[in-house]
Structures are given as C-alpha cells and as structure tokens.
C-alpha cells in the first residue's frame, strides 16, 4: 500500500523526489488512518528554511492536534493551498492530491536517514 518510489520517516511523513532536485512532502495513509478526519492544517510559509526532522507545522483532526515534522532539510517553495479549503484531500489521497509542501535545495545525503517502502511497511506493522 505504501508506494515504492517514496521515502518515509518514522514520524509517518513521505517524500517524493522531483526531477529538478526539489521534493514533495506529505503524510502517509497510516498517519491519516490514525488521525481520522483532518479538519485543519497549518504549514510553514513559502521561503522558510527547514531542517530535517524539525517540527514545521500542525495538523488537526477530529481526534487530536498533531505536529508535522519535515523528513528533509531545504527551503519551502510551494504549499498545497488546496488543503486549506479541502483538508479532506489528505484523508482521501494522502500520497497524491494530499501532498503538503514542496522543498528545494535538498541534500540527498539526508535520504539515507529515511526508510524505503519495505522498511516502512515493517515499522507500521509492529
């Protein structure tokens, strides 16, 4: 169920590399299942510099408010503004339409700190 072309963090974020050395970031289906219906999301501003595994935003569901951590360092170049009015996209399409933000200037060395789909499958099984 977890796409093979993505990398995963233990905090249940995914990252998808783009051809121009930028990357899309979102949260996994496992995360959205645990959270329940998402009702609000707060993302870092475009232009802000973020550091791997740092808290960069908040996600609120009918159950609880949780922190969003970034799986990689870089600079935010785009937010998925669709999510502001339609946070349910995160539940309905966590790996596609529910992407949260796009970063540039990423350091591919940091990817070694993340898991591939098989490793992540194993993590959420436990």
């Amino acid at each position: 169920m977890n796409p093979k072309d993505l990398k995963y963090s233990k905090d249940h974020e995914w990252i998808k590399l783009q051809s121009d050395n930028s990357a899309l970031i979102g949260i996994t289906e496992f995360a959205t299942d645990s959270l329940g219906d998402v009702v609000f999301i707060e993302l870092p501003d475009v232009g802000s510099k973020i550091k791997q595994f740092e808290k960069i935003g908040e996600i609120e569901s009918v159950k609880a408010v949780s922190d969003i951590y970034t799986p990689i360092s870089g600079e935010i170049i785009e937010q998925n503004t669709e999510l502001i009015d339609n946070p349910e996209l995160i539940n309905n399409s966590p790996f596609e339409d529910g992407w949260m933000f796009k970063v540039k200037n990423i350091d591919s060395n940091e990817l070694t700190n993340l898991m591939d789909a098989d490793e992540y499958d194993k993590l959420i099984e436990d």
Binding site: D37, V39, F40, E60, V62, K63, A64, P87
Partner: protein, 490 residues
C-alpha cells in the same frame, strides 16, 4: 435519554419569532420623554426574536431537558472527575453573607469570607503536604501557568536565565506543555517506559544546566501511580530544577499520599474536580497553586493572612509576586464549595474518597479486562485506560463508535483518544461517588456493546439512536462551522 422531540422543538429561537409578539406589556410612560442619542450611535437592524413569555419558557425548558449532567446519569469522563456534587455546597455558597459580597468591600466588613479563604488555604496545605498557597488561579490551567511563571521568576532571581527547559512526560495533560510554553519555556517531551512510568534513563539524559523543571501528573493520565516518582524528583532536584505536580488526579491520593513529602515543589489542585464544584463545558473552576516555602515570595496575589493578636484577617501581596491571575480574589464561589466539601467530610471522609475512587476504577478494570485491551495490566488508581484497537482491526469499530453507543444506554461517553499514546483509548473514571449497582450496570452495558460490535457493527456506526440528534458529522462541523443564526430572508 429517550426525549420526545418534534419539528417545532427543533426550531431555533429566531425561527419561532412572530412580528409584533411581545412577552411583556409596558405601563404607560409616566416620566418625561428623553431625547435619544444621535442616530450614529443607534441601529435599527438588530434581529431580536419576538415571542411570548410562555414560548420563551418552553423553548429553554426543552433545551434544558436535552442536557446531560451528573445529576441525571453516570458520567465516567476520564481525567475530568465528574463526581456527584453535594447540594449542601450550593446551599452554603448561596448564603447571602457569601453570595452578596462585593469584591471592593472593605476588609473589615468581609472577615467571615476571608476567614473561610484562610482556613481553606490551611486545609489544602495540610492535605497536600505543602507550605504555602494562593487561591487566586481561576482554573487548573491557570494554576499551571501561575506555577510556571513562579518557576521562571525563581530561576531569574537566582541569576539562572539559561534555565529554559521544561520536561513533560508524554502521558501529561495537554494543558501542561501549553502552560509551560505560555510562560516562555521550551518544552521537551519525556517518553514513558513500558510499564507506563516516566522513563528514568531518558530523564537522566535530558537534565542539564538548562533545566528549569519538570511537570508531571501523579497519578498520570494513564491512571497509574508512577512508581519511579521518588527517583524522578531526586534527579530533577539534583540538576537544579523545580518539580511541578499537576494535581488534577488528587482524588486518588487524598488522605494517603502527600505530594509535598514525595518531593514536589509546586502543585495545583483542581478544586472543581477534587473538592466538588459543578463543572464541565469549561467552567467554573478554581486552581490554587500550592508550594514549598522557598517559593513563597513569588505566589500570585492576593493571599489571606491572619493576625492572631488582633483576630483579624487581611489580604496581602508577596514581595516578588508574579502578579494577579485575574480580577480580585479568584473564583470565590468555587472556593466556598471546596471549603464546604472539606468541612463536611472531615479527615476520615477525605480518606474514604481516595479509597472509593481507586477501588471503583479497579473493579471496572478487572471486570472488563477480558473484553477490552488493557494497555497496562497493573493496578490502576482512580481511572483506567482501555483500548478498542482489537475492535478497530477486526470489526472496524472505533473507540468513538463505542462511546456513541454508550449514550443510548444513558451513560456519558468516557474520554476518547486520550492519552494520545494509547491507540483507540477509552479513559474511564467512575469516580468515588458511584455505587456498585451503577458500576455493575456500566460493566454490563460495556459487555453488551462488545457483543454488538461483533454481531451488529452498523448499530454502533450509527449510534446514538435514542437522542434528539443522532450521529453528527464532526468532520463537516469542524471544517465548515456554522456558528451563527442567519435569516433565511437575507
């Protein structure tokens, strides 16, 4: 809860309005007519409902029947201590000498009220094993904030501005990190060990010269007494930090454990929970902050002192006070009820609170452990956390579905999805005021729901069925809140 409701009952007050209908007939004007203020101060487009007195009374009476309260039904809302509030407390609080006081009255005219506050101060220090107290904070989180501001003031006056870090176990109340952050601290989350205690090794590696203190709830929100607590206090003290205790769960310790003797430096007590005050929906409460002597100078004001020689009670403000937490003297009505509760129970009665609270929760734990997952299979204190994760996996029945179904049986849902570290958590606090019959009924209902989850999951997915409103779409309500009446004519 079966309450008959028809379409008229569902109409909001504004939709019941009929132009020109009034609730009262005014007598003819018998004083000179005054000029109205200029037009730019007045508006004539205010939507006010036009109803007769009887229509208005029926509307609100009907609404009041929809209420769920501890005076109607069992209310096992974990962590909130929704126990029965003795009516004598209300009787005392509404005595004219107490309820008609004005906060700006001269001290000499309110000696009785001050004496009550002074004796409550003394009682709470005695019960908790602490030295000094301020009754000023208006609620639990306000007490936490007061405690954190005092922690900050203490470190600053000791020339330790680098002490900015507050450690908080992951089983803490959500208000703890919020209060620490509001006071300007950096919050570090401390993991729990497999037994549900604070992780000692993680604590050891987190303390250094930047440590301001630790906020810990005892018993924790998992309903567990942290058996490492003496070590926890020692490690924090050795690192120069303050140990803050969230006293929200004090009902399980009353008369048996004094937090002061365990090593706590600051605690707050939720008087509205532990010492009874009708609460819920955000108030009203009282959260006195209770401390060790070395912090006395920082207490929020005012505090009541007593001069034995002149037999006179007066208010004072400590020398380095963090200031006021609100207007005047705190939530006086809540203080009166707490005083009344403590005095009517006395020492032996206070002992019995903790005994009943703990026995009741453990009775539920042992009766339901074969039906629901018990994340920590050990003796609990005043509340027990169950997990519905097996139901979620096997039958797609969530903690929410179980909670909603309880409403059909006339039981208030327990706290759900909290503590956050437990999947599909149901946090159940039966409280000390429930009889064995009530507990047995609850246990039977939980067993019935467990069977329904397997045999008829749809029944739970759509619950509640017997209420004026059935399952509401909470996600839709949160995403598109519709909070204000608007005229359909606009």
């Amino acid at each position: 809860m079966n309450i008959e409701i028809n379409n008229i009952d569902r109409k909001l007050l504004m939709d019941r309005s009929s132009p020109g209908r009034i609730g009262a007939t005014l007598p003819p004007l018998d004083v000179p007519k005054q000029k109205l203020p200029p037009n730019n101060y007045l508006r004539d487009n205010i939507d006010l409902p036009e109803l007769s007195e009887s229509e208005l009374v029926r509307y609100f009476s009907k609404l009041s029947q929809f209420n769920f309260s501890i005076d109607h039904n069992f209310y096992p809302l974990g962590s909130c201590t929704m126990k029965y509030n003795p009516k004598i407390n209300d009787e005392i609080a509404s005595m004219k000498g107490l309820s008609n006081l004005h906060p700006l009255q001269d001290e000499s005219t309110i000696q009785g009220a001050l004496k009550l506050m002074f004796e409550l101060q003394e009682s709470l220090c005695e019960i908790t094993g602490m030295d000094n107290i301020s009754l000023a904070p208006m609620a639990g989180a306000d007490g936490e904030l007061a405690g954190m501001l005092m922690t900050k003031a203490y470190h600053l006056s000791n020339k330790n501005p680098q002490r900015k870090k507050i450690l908080i176990p992951d089983s803490a109340h959500g208000t703890n990190p919020a209060s620490a952050a509001m006071a300007g601290f950096e919050v570090i989350t401390l993991p729990s060990d497999p037994k549900g205690n604070a992780d000692i090794e993680a604590l050891k590696s987190s303390v250094d010269e930047t440590l301001a203190g630790l906020m810990i709830t005892l018993p924790s929100t998992l309903g567990l007494f942290d058996t490492n607590i003496l070590d926890v206090c020692k490690i924090v003290h050795n690192a120069g930090g303050i140990v803050y205790g969230d006293g929200a769960n004090l009902n399980s310790l009353l008369g048996r454990v004094k937090l002061g003797e365990l090593g706590f430096d600051i605690i707050h007590s939720n008087l509205h929970k532990t010492f009874t005050q009708p609460h819920g929906g955000g108030g009203p409460g009282a959260g006195p902050v209770i401390i060790k002597k070395f912090l006395s100078d920082y207490l929020p004001s005012p505090i009541v002192k007593y001069n034995q020689k002149t037999n006179y009670y007066s208010l004072y403000s400590p020398i380095n006070t963090i200031g006021k937490m609100g207007a005047f003297h705190g939530n006086f009505g809540a203080l009166v009820r707490a005083y009344s509760y403590i005095k009517t129970l006395g020492g032996s009665g206070i002992n019995q609170i903790s005994q009943n609270a703990v026995i009741n929760a453990n009775y539920i734990r042992t009766q339901l452990k074969d039906y629901f997952t018990l994340p920590f299979d050990r003796t609990c204190m005043h509340e027990v956390v169950l997990s519905a994760k097996d139901y979620k996996q096997k039958y797609n029945i969530s903690a929410l579905d179980i909670a909603k179904r309880l409403i059909d049986y006339g039981i208030h849902p327990p706290t759900m999805y909290f503590p956050l570290i437990i999947d599909e958590a149901l946090l159940i606090e039966p409280t000390e005021t429930e009889s064995k019959d009530t507990l047995d009924y609850f246990i039977e209902v939980m067993k019935t729901i467990s069977k329904e989850a397997k045999d008829n999951p749809e029944l739970l997915h759509n619950a509640p069925h017997n209420t004026p409103n059935t399952r509401v779409d909470e996600a839709l309500a949160a995403r598109n809140p519709n909070l204000r009446w608007t005229s359909s004519n606009i």
